[in-house]
């Protein structure tokens, strides 16, 4: 199962945007559509793996070899179809990671019951943004930039390799800011693959195999990633 293989169901309002971004990032995209117009759209936008299929038929879904995909993304414009699809996919492929979009609380609940691993509520994220804009406008705008920037200041996740000089050190003993980056948090394998923010107030030992998330300028982050591969500095 390749980490880069993503199946997107639906090439409407959401699918179009997501597919374009992911394709630019080098993901291997497969698009499934049941609407003739959107299907043609996807084709004409240069996607090679585009299937026209009736997603309500299990036999057609089975044919597509969906087990090999890292994520199945359900973003059909029709909410009913989306819930049905999520349910079909879950019953057919127990181990797949399914991400679905919802446009209301009730649909979110249904999608979760249908077995989606992650549900993103269209209005929840927007409503949250409005709330944040009112509550802390500057922080929200900067944060958005950090999240969306590919250049400039951004977040990056890095794996601590074995033999790294970070291996075995306590997190507070390393002065990250002197490298021009800030440690935001890490995935601690010792704690069972949980994401832990540095500000949680728990001291962590950095081990090889842990993933750290840093904030910084793109080139500083790249330089730092190269640096942590070294044993001594």
């Amino acid at each position: 199962m390749s980490k880069n293989k993503i199946a997107i169901f639906g090439y409407g309002n959401h699918g179009k945007f997501i597919a374009k971004g992911l394709a630019l990032d080098g993901f291997d995209i497969t698009i499934v559509e049941s609407n003739k117009v959107f299907y043609k759209d996807a084709k004409s936008n240069g996607f090679e793996n585009v299937f026209f299929a009736d997603v309500t038929k299990d036999s057609e879904l089975k044919k597509m070899n969906l087990e090999s995909f890292a994520q199945l993304v359900c973003v059909m414009d029709d909410e009913h179809l989306n819930v049905f699809l999520t349910l079909s996919l879950r019953s057919l492929f127990q181990d797949s990671y399914i991400l679905s979009i919802s446009d209301s609380l009730n649909v979110t609940k249904k999608l979760q019951m249908a077995g989606a691993n992650k549900v993103i509520d269209l209005y929840e994220v927007s409503a949250n943004k409005i709330y944040n804009l009112l509550d802390r406008p500057i922080a929200t705008k900067l944060l958005e930039e950090f999240v969306h920037n590919k250049e400039g200041i951004t977040f990056k996740e890095m794996l601590i390799p074995s033999n790294s000089f970070l291996d075995g050190k306590m997190e507070e003993d390393v002065d990250f800011s002197s490298y021009g980056v800030l440690l935001v948090g890490m995935i601690d394998e010792e704690l069972g693959h949980a994401f832990v923010f540095v500000t949680a107030g728990i001291s962590h030992k950095l081990d090889s195999g842990d993933t750290i998330v840093c904030l910084g300028e793109k080139d500083k982050l790249d330089a730092f990633e190269a640096l942590i591969a070294k044993k001594e500095i």
């Binding site: 945007f17 993901f27 993103i120 929840e124 409503a127 943004k129 994401f195 923010f197 500000t199």
Partner: protein, 515 residues
């Protein structure tokens, strides 16, 4: 004479002192936002209450002379001044004179003092005849010793309080709306009372020992028709009793009719009155928010709040959605936010007003945005945009922030697929999970932090992650430890809410107070 008055008017016209004094008096009397109006109102209310209390006490007890003098002279004197002030600011004679003079000079016609004064004085007289002005005048009367018999006029001072109670005004307002129905009934009532009063007088004046004058007859008719029935006068003849039966029956009908008219008038306007109250309350607060539309987005918005929003109102043109919002426990009114009349009821100049245009229609949202901005540029507008092509229109209409739900959600999905680990982190930060709250610390002019180095602030011991400084519109990421904090910097800090609050409380305060 003419010249004298004209030069006096010119003098007043040029005098800034006179103008500011008049403006001050006007504000004091009418402007709810005037700082002194509250105290002025309280003084008047105190004077009214105290003089009525004295009047009650006086009935059975001797009153000391000083209290009597206070009641008669001090209170009346202040009321007299108030009355004159109200009369003075009602219109501006000198301005009218100057205008007329300039006009006649322009038109080459003779300046006529008489016509100006006639109009001006007429206006003043018109004011003097309004109910509130008459009450004011009657409240002063007890000061005149020979009119001590009019002592009961002090009760008119109580009516002065009406000026300060909005509910009475609203009550009157409701009644005025039903003027036609009520007047019809009143005439009918008058007709019945007069005819039956006269009839009983004619029929029983010589047979009934209690009826001597026509007034007795009319008094009896009113007592009977109102179903009060004291029983001090009662008919003694059969015809008199027959008339009684007639007025008792018509009285019951009439009273239930009047009651139903008033009740229906109130229930018709109940929502309006409630909405009026809500708007009043919002205008009293320093900042408030108007949320247009009660759909998915608004529902979600309320689920996001981590601390309750103090002053807000939801507006929707669809009554079923307004009812739904009320059922969910929110403050909602059935109003059209795109109408100028609705929004101008809010005080955008004195309060910080934020509008959230969250309806599902772009056309509606743009219209509301434009409407808000046309009332005051100060109103902050955050608008929801559905069609990306209309973004420019929103910007043009003056929206401070625009937001595309589709785009925001798409970026989220995109991030969730592209960087699943990061998504968790970012989601936690964006939703303000307590361990990952990113907050801004605003450095004010007299903040204790000003002039300190970043090193001195010791973020790490507070378990905070210092990210950078927003300074004059530019963001300085991870500045060197020797960087000095300036006034109006905004520090971007991440950490638990309690750490952030503790940090803020430690460093907030005045430079000079800080050791």
């Amino acid at each position: 004479m003419k010249e004298l008055l004209l030069s006096l008017a010119l003098f007043l016209h040029r005098s800034t002192k006179y103008k500011s004094a008049k403006q001050f008096a006007k504000d004091l009397l009418f402007d709810a936002n005037n700082a002194y109006k509250r105290y002025f109102d309280l003084t008047i209310i105190f004077l009214v209450v105290s003089s009525v209390l004295i009047l009650i006490y006086e009935v059975k007890n001797p009153v000391p002379a000083w209290l009597d003098n206070y009641d008669i002279y001090v209170v009346s004197f202040i009321f007299a001044i108030e009355y004159l002030l109200r009369l003075w600011v009602h219109n501006d004679l000198s301005e009218m004179m100057i205008k007329e003079y300039n006009d006649s000079k322009f038109l080459n016609r003779e300046f006529s003092l008489y016509s100006v004064l006639k109009v001006g004085v007429k206006e003043k007289l018109k004011y003097m005849l309004t109910p509130s002005a008459i009450v004011d005048l009657l409240a002063i009367l007890p000061a005149y010793r020979p009119l001590r018999i009019l002592r009961v006029f002090i009760l008119f001072r109580v009516f002065k309080l009406l000026r300060y109670t909005k509910s009475i005004n609203q009550f009157v307002d409701v009644l005025v709306n039903k003027k036609f129905e009520l007047l019809t009934l009143l005439f009918l009532l008058l007709f019945i009372v007069l005819t039956s009063g006269i009839a009983i007088y004619i029929l029983e004046a010589d047979k009934n020992s209690n009826i001597h004058t026509l007034f007795d007859g009319i008094y009896w008719a009113i007592v009977t028709i109102s179903t009060v029935g004291y029983g001090d006068i009662s008919p003694v003849t059969d015809v008199g009793r027959a008339i009684s039966i007639l007025i008792i029956v018509s009285g019951i009908a009439m009273i239930s009719f009047v009651t139903s008219v008033i009740v229906s008038a109130f229930s018709e306007r109940l929502n309006e009155l409630k909405e009026y109250r809500i708007i009043e309350q919002m205008n009293k607060s320093k900042s408030f928010m108007i949320i247009c539309g009660y759909g998915q987005m608004t529902k979600m918005f309320f689920r996001q709040q981590r601390k309750p929003i103090d002053h807000y109102v939801i507006m929707d043109t669809d009554i079923t959605r307004v009812e739904a919002a009320k059922k969910d426990g929110y403050v909602a009114i059935h109003e059209d936010a795109s109408s100028h009349k609705t929004l101008s009821k809010f005080d955008a100049e004195y309060c910080d007003m934020t509008m959230l245009c969250l309806t599902s229609s772009d056309v509606e949202n743009i219209y509301i945005t434009l409407n808000a901005k046309s009332i005051s540029r100060k109103i902050k507008v955050i608008a929801r945009v559905n069609d990306p092509e209309t973004i420019d229109k929103f910007k043009y209409a003056g929206a401070d922030e625009v937001l595309l739900p589709n785009l925001v959600a798409n970026t989220m999905i995109y991030t969730a697929i592209r960087q699943p680990t990061m998504y968790k982190a970012i989601h936690a930060i964006l939703t303000g999970k307590s361990i990952a709250n990113i907050d801004e610390v605003h450095v004010h002019a007299s903040h204790a932090m000003v002039g300190k180095q970043i090193e001195d602030l010791d973020f790490s011991s507070n378990k905070l992650l210092f990210i950078g400084i927003q300074r004059r519109g530019k963001f300085i990421f991870n500045p060197p430890k020797t960087e000095i904090i300036e006034t109006y910097d905004v520090l971007l800090v991440m950490g638990r809410k309690i750490s952030l609050e503790y940090f803020k409380s430690q460093h907030e305060g005045d430079i000079h107070v800080k050791k």
